[in-house]
Symmetry: C2
Subunit: 102 residues, 2 copies
């Protein structure tokens, strides 16, 4: 990561059982919608496997700058995914943003 880059992550639970077709569809649709946004770099879908917290999934992506992050937030794919899917299918979540200092 360069000094201006931001790694944006969200850990979350779905309202569906782990491994269900509904969960898989949510993850795939999120991947498809968000990776189609040109400023999104290194998009990854993860299982959250630490026993020390209760979240099941993670999305991780990088932006080259705060401007790119703002572009992502305002992009129609992101807005639609949040409104149409995230707000109805995600049970709880925590957002984390990293800027590398060392």
């Amino acid at each position: 990561m360069n000094p201006a880059s931001i790694r944006h992550m969200v850990i979350f639970d779905l309202k569906y059982p782990a491994g269900s077709p509904e969960a898989e569809k949510f993850l795939q649709d999120g991947y498809d919608a968000l990776t189609a946004i040109p400023v999104v770099r290194h998009f990854e879908v993860h299982r959250q496997v630490s026993a020390k917290n209760d979240y099941d999934y993670g999305f991780s992506m990088e932006f080259d700058s705060q401007q790119d992050y703002d572009t992502y937030n305002a992009h129609e794919n992101h807005v639609a995914f949040v409104e149409e899917r995230w707000k109805t299918e995600v049970a709880r979540f925590l957002e984390i943003d990293f800027k590398q200092i060392k």
Copy 2:
């Protein structure tokens, strides 16, 4: 990341003010102690900059396998850093482990 890899992260607050010499020393000493463990890959020190949570810092690293993760946990540098520094200088923390599925 390959399918067996695990990205281990911890987000945390220190008992010191952000930007203080004590905070900087903690981050540097953590970097030095933990990057010296041979199984640790891609060790990064981050500021946590999302306004949507209250954590100030993050460590991120990758292991090629669960066996390497176990080796890290048992390594004398990790055990000493946890016992001598983490338990006395960290105010609160959350551990997150990612396995990439997409």
